[in-house]
Symmetry: C2
Subunit: 211 residues, 2 copies
Amino acid sequence: MADAVIDSKSEVSDARDVTDLVLQDILAGVLLPGTWLKQIDLERRYKCTRPEVRRALDRLAQKRLVEHVPNRGYHVYEPDGRRAREVSEIRIVLETAVAEAIVEKASSAEIARLRQLAEHFDRMVLNGTTLELYEANLAFHRHLLTLGGNLELVELITEIRQRTSSAPVSQWRTRARVEQSGREHHMMVDAIAASDTDRLKVLVRQHILQR
Amino acid sequence: MADAVIDSKSEVSDARDVTDLVLQDILAGVLLPGTWLKQIDLERRYKCTRPEVRRALDRLAQKRLVEHVPNRGYHVYEPDGRRAREVSEIRIVLETAVAEAIVEKASSAEIARLRQLAEHFDRMVLNGTTLELYEANLAFHRHLLTLGGNLELVELITEIRQRTSSAPVSQWRTRARVEQSGREHHMMVDAIAASDTDRLKVLVRQHILQR
DNA sequence: GTATCCTAAATTGGCACCAATTTTGGATAC
DNA sequence: GTATCCAAAATTGGTGCCAATTTAGGATAC
């Protein structure tokens, strides 16, 4: 992807994978749950070819973000309360489990970096798009988990995070809630700096549940 | 260089998805790590079309069981010690976490069913193929996890189990080890029947690590 | 006026062909 | 004898076309 960044012509869309573009539009709430993703529309919307569209849809179906109905097409999954709850449970188990390793291994330099990312999130709350906010949040949490030392876990959580974010707009709509998220980020960094594992665990649990 | 072995006899049914067939051959050790999966070979081996092969390869690449090198093709991933260790860690965290729920919710009927599956595994140790043994093991663990009540977790663990089973043959080679697995299954069922959560957790941890 | 059937448009999904890139084998130069 | 370069073969990956299936619209019967 590094070489693709240099090539910033008229549109970024040619360089990045179509799958990510559709994914982001689903996460951003542009493509609402239940919407039928007609291949001809996606083809035009993302300026790409038919096979690319099909591959993207197949990948999203594998990730279970869209459902495939043979000879009918693909449509965005409806939000599933049970699934969302179960994914939250899984995230709590995994993310509180790494809390110990994080407190143990975090150097002051890495804590400073984490603080930077928390501040970047705050800035995006004030003057950033929904997508930028989403990515700032993701960056913070990815770096947080990276401190645990289990890279496979970082990827896994990043993956399952996308799994139930079918209605991020409604979840992130209220400004108060987003600002609360920002404060919690800083509290987590504080807990790490203070080597307070138990507090970090409580914060992580709350942070996942409150959304 | 060792190319994909062409064996036109092993075709069983057109009904199943090609992706699963390739997946099973990788898990069974028929397609060894490092093997280049030439599209023309797969096409003939599984009696399917070129697009089907491509979709299967793309899906396996998403699951990170094969690596895609542009204009070169797809090859089976080499076993990665670090990754295997990290996946084991994740599995321990997740599977010990559901231990409580399992002990709490398991009815006598479901415990009996679990016992059946453990016994089925034992039979496959004696007179079953590597694949049948693998599936009997999977069936036991899936039912075990199902008792926890978090269906999303069942799917997730099933998924990450496949993620590092690139060398199941070497892992499962010794009969003594497989028989030990069978005994551990029964010990786990015993612990559930006795409502001994802590013992179940210890057993689960050992079971994951010993492989 | 309503329900049913039938025809036509639209969409999906598979198939075959072709261009682009890489690898292999051999010939040539040193 | 060894290394380098070039040409031919093979493989990947994209494009366009067409068949199969579904849906929408309208005509007909009751």
